[in-house]
Symmetry: C2
Subunit: 128 residues, 2 copies
C-alpha cells in the first residue's frame, strides 16, 4: 500500500480571472513543478473565478491522505488579496481540516530570484 | 546638449491595486532594470488605482524627448486585462502621441525564464 500521507502536498495558489486562458502560465508552472518533484502531490488553486478553490484543492489533498499541506502564493503584488483575503481563506481551510497541518510560504513577489528573473525579462523585452 | 531621444524608453506596465504597498515587488524590478540599464529611461506605470497611468508615463517620456517607447507588460495571467484592456490603453497612448513609436513586448507570463523562475520558487517554497 502506498503511503500517500508521506508525499509532500503543495497548493500553488493564484488569483484567477473570468477568462480561463488567464491560467495558462500558471498551468505551465504547475506542470514544471510536477515534472521536477514527481514525489509531490501538486494542486493549482484560485482565489477567484476559476476552479478549484483553495478549499476544494485542500479537500482533494486531504482525501488522498495528506497530513500537511504547503500553500505557495503565486502572487507578485503585496496588496489586499495577499494581506487580507489569502490569510482568511487559509484560515477557513485550516478550520475545515483540523487534522491537516496547513503552512503558507512567502509569496512569489518576495522571492529574490523571481524579482531578478522579472528584471532580466524586462531587460530582454526592452532591447529585443 | 544630451540627446535624450537616443535613450531607450521603457514602461514597465503592471496591474496596480488600491493598497500602494501592492507595488513593492514591481518597484524592486524597476530599480533593478534601472541599475542594469542606466542608459534607459524607465517608468513604472499601472492599469488601475496607482499612479502614474500608462498615458502619464508615456507623456513624461515623450516630454523628455523619447521617439520610441517599449511597453513591457508585467502581467503573468493571460486574461481580459492583457487581452483587452492593455491593447486599448496602448492604442490610446499611440493616438495621443502620434510622433512616438509605441511598441508592446510579450508579457512576463509568456517568458520561459520567468515561468522557470516561478517553478523553481515553488519548489524551494514547497521544501523549505
Amino acid at each position: 500500500m502506498n503511503d500517500e500521507s508521506a508525499r509532500p502536498a503543495i497548493i500553488l495558489f493564484a488569483h484567477g480571472a473570468r477568462d480561463p486562458r488567464w491560467a495558462e502560465p500558471f498551468l505551465r508552472v504547475a506542470e514544471r513543478v510536477r515534472a521536477e518533484a514527481p514525489e509531490a502531490a501538486v494542486e493549482l488553486a484560485y482565489l477567484e473565478h476559476l476552479e478549484p478553490s483553495l478549499e476544494e484543492a485542500a479537500r482533494r489533498l486531504a482525501l488522498r491522505g495528506a497530513k500537511a499541506i504547503r500553500i505557495v502564493p503565486l502572487f507578485l503584488g503585496r496588496g489586499g488579496h495577499l494581506r487580507i483575503e489569502v490569510p482568511a481563506r487559509v484560515a477557513a481551510v485550516a478550520a475545515e481540516l483540523p487534522e491537516v497541518v496547513i503552512e503558507v510560504a512567502l509569496p512569489a513577489g518576495d522571492d529574490e530570484a523571481v524579482i531578478d528573473a522579472l528584471a532580466q525579462f524586462c531587460l530582454r523585452a526592452a532591447s529585443s
